[in-house]
Amino acid sequence: MTMDLYNRRIVEAAKRARERGRLADADVSVTRDNPLCGDRITLDLRFEGERIAALGLRVRGCLLTEAAATLLAERGVGATPRELWRAQEDLRRLLAGEAGEPVWPELAMFRPVAGVKSRHECVLLPFEAAAEALARGRAERA
C-alpha cells in the first residue's frame, strides 16, 4: 500500500512542481501552512474574467503536496472557480474512500492516500490555498 502511494505518476508530478516558478504579475497570492509538518505552499493566480489565466507556485512540502500542486497548476489554467471547487470536492470524496470518477481524472492517482488519514491534509493543501485565492480574487473584483 505504501508503494502504491508513491506510484510513478505521483513521483513524477512532484518533480514537475520543483520546476515551476512564481508569477511576477499575479492578481492574488496566498500562502498556506500545513500544521502537521510546517510545510508551506505559496500560490499566485492571474485572472481573465472569472477564469484562471495563469498560475505560479512555490512548494516546500512532501511529494504528496508537490504532486497535488502540480496537478492543480496543470489543470487549473483555464478553469472556472466552479470547476476548481468541484475538483476539490471530488478530491475530498476520493480521500474519504468514496467511488466515482473525479472531474479531473488525474486526481485518481491520490486514491491510495485514502487509507492514510494523516496525509490527507498534504494532498488537500494546494487546493485549499487555491480556494482561498479564488475567494480573495472574487472579493477584490466585487
Partner: protein, 405 residues
C-alpha cells in the same frame, strides 16, 4: 421493556472479579468500567499504541483516527453541533479549571461570578481563584430544604455585573437535577455565560447539550463507565473560536519561535501535549455503547430502585434524608445521616456486608454547612444495580444501628 439487570451486569468486568456479596453503590464517585471501554483501553495500550496527531506510519495513523473517532462519539453522545466543540481533557476538574482560565479576560474588578451551595468543590474553587485573580466577587445561589437549587430569586442573583453562572446539572449529594432553562434565560438577558458541571448527569443517558442553552459543559469519563484519566469539555463553537489557550506545549501551536508562538485552531488549541489516549478511547467506546441502550427502561429501573431505597431509609429510626423525596427531576444519588453515628463508621460497617457506600462531605462542604452537618452517607446507583443491592444496604443499616446505638 423492563431492564434485564443480569444481562447488564455481564457488560461490566468487575462482577466477574469481585466475589459476592458485592454491592457497589458508590457510582457517583466512580462508575465501573464497561466491557467496551475496557476493550478499547487495553487494545490500544497493549496492542496498538502510538502517539497521535503526528505520526504517518500505520500504527500512528490508526491511533490518530481512533482518537478523532472518540471525539466524534463524544460529540454524538452529548448532542454537540460539531466534533470540534468537544475538547478532550483529563476530567471534569481539569475542564472546569480550563474554563475558569480561558474566560479570565471576560471577568473584571467588581464583576460577579455566580455559583451555588449545591456545587462540588470542583465547580467552586476554580471560580474563587479566578475571582481572586481578577478582583471579582463570588456569589452563590442557595438550596431548598429538599436539596434542590433555589431558583426563586434569579432576578436578584443574576444582575448586570454577573459575568459567569456556574452550576451543576445534577447534584452529587442530593441527586437533584437542575432546571437550567430559567437560569439560562436570565443569564442570557444580562449577557452572562453559563458553565454547567455535567459530571453526574452524563452517566444517565445521552443529552442534547446544544439545546440546553448553556455555553460550556464539563464531564469525566470515569463516571460514565469509561477509564480513569479522561474527560471532555464542550464549548459552544462561536464562543470557542474567541478563547485563548490555557496550557502551552506540543500539539496546541501552529508555529513556535523563542520570541512568540501562534496557536492552532480549536479544539487543538486547548489540548497541549500527549493526550490521555487510552482513557479517551475508552470514554469514546463507553459513550458509543451507552448511546445504544434503552434509556427509558434504565431510567425506570433506577427510579424504582431509588423509590425502594428512600422508602426503606425512611422506615429506619433516626434516619435523615438529605435530598428530594419525590422521584422526578432527580437521579439515584441518595445521601443521609444516621442520628448519633458517624458516616465513616456506617460505611465501614456496611463494607462488612459487602456494601460499598461513601461517607464524608462528598467535596461539597458548602452544602454540608447548609444542612448543618459535616459528613453524610451516600448511596448512588448505576444501571447494573438491582433490588438486592438496595436490600443489602437497608439490612446492613439496621445492623449498624443495632451495633452502634
Amino acid at each position: 421493556m423492563a431492564l434485564d439487570v443480569a444481562a447488564m451486569r455481564r457488560n461490566f468486568p468487575i462482577f466477574a472479579h469481585q466475589p459476592p456479596p458485592f454491592h457497589y453503590l458508590d457510582n457517583a464517585a466512580t462508575g465501573q468500567i464497561c466491557a467496551a471501554a475496557a476493550e478499547a483501553l487495553t487494545t490500544f495500550e497493549t496492542a496498538g499504541r502510538a502517539n497521535v496527531k503526528r505520526g504517518v506510519y500505520r500504527l500512528a495513523d490508526r491511533a490518530t483516527q481512533a482518537f478523532a473517532e472518540a471525539r466524534e462519539r463524544m460529540a454524538a453522545y452529548l448532542g454537540a453541533t460539531r466534533p470540534e466543540e468537544v475538547i478532550l481533557t483529563s476530567g471534569t476538574t481539569f475542564g472546569l479549571n480550563l474554563a475558569a482560565h480561558v474566560l479570565e479576560a471576560r471577568v473584571g474588578p467588581g464583576d460577579a461570578i455566580l455559583v451555588s451551595r449545591l456545587e462540588h468543590h470542583s465547580n467552586i474553587v476554580p471560580w474563587q481563584m479566578l475571582a481572586e485573580r481578577r478582583g471579582a466577587r463570588i456569589r452563590a445561589l442557595g438550596v431548598t430544604e429538599e436539596g434542590r437549587l433555589d431558583l426563586r430569586d434569579l432576578e436578584a442573583a443574576i444582575d448586570r455585573r454577573t459575568r459567569i453562572v456556574a452550576v451543576t446539572h445534577c447534584s452529587n449529594v442530593t441527586g437533584a437535577v437542575t432546571d437550567l432553562a430559567p437560569l439560562v434565560a436570565r443569564a442570557r438577558a444580562v449577557g452572562a455565560l453559563v458553565v454547567v458541571d455535567g459530571a453526574q448527569r452524563v452517566p444517565h443517558g445521552p443529552l442534547e447539550v446544544a439545546s440546553l442553552g448553556c455555553d460550556i459543559y464539563a464531564l469525566s469519563g470515569h463516571k460514565m463507565f469509561g477509564a480513569t484519566g479522561a474527560g471532555a469539555l464542550w464549548i459552544r463553537h462561536d464562543l470557542l473560536e474567541t478563547l485563548p489557550p490555557f496550557l502551552g506545549g506540543g500539539e496546541m501551536i501552529s508555529r513556535v519561535t523563542i520570541e512568540e508562538s501562534r496557536y492552532a485552531p480549536p479544539p487543538h488549541r486547548f489540548e497541549a501535549g500527549t493526550p490521555p489516549i487510552g482513557p479517551v478511547l475508552a470514554m469514546g467506546a463507553a459513550a458509543d455503547w451507552l448511546a445504544g441502550l434503552d434509556w427509558q427502561a434504565i431510567l425506570a429501573h433506577e427510579k424504582r430502585l431509588t423509590a425502594r431505597l428512600i422508602a426503606g431509609l425512611e422506615a429506619l429510626p433516626g434516619l435523615r434524608l438529605i435530598g428530594p423525596r419525590d422521584l422526578d427531576d432527580r437521579y439515584g444519588v441518595v445521601a443521609f445521616e444516621v442520628a448519633g453515628v458517624h458516616a465513616h463508621d456506617v460505611c465501614q460497617l456496611l463494607d462488612g456486608f459487602g456494601v460499598c457506600t461513601r461517607g464524608g462531605h462528598h467535596c461539597a462542604q458548602p452544602l454540608m454547612d447548609a444542612f448543618g452537618t459535616v459528613a453524610t452517607v451516600r448511596a448512588s446507583l448505576a444501571p447494573y444495580n438491582d433490588a438486592d443491592d438496595i436490600d443489602a444496604l437497608l439490612e446492613g443499616l439496621e445492623q449498624v444501628i443495632r451495633i452502634l446505638r
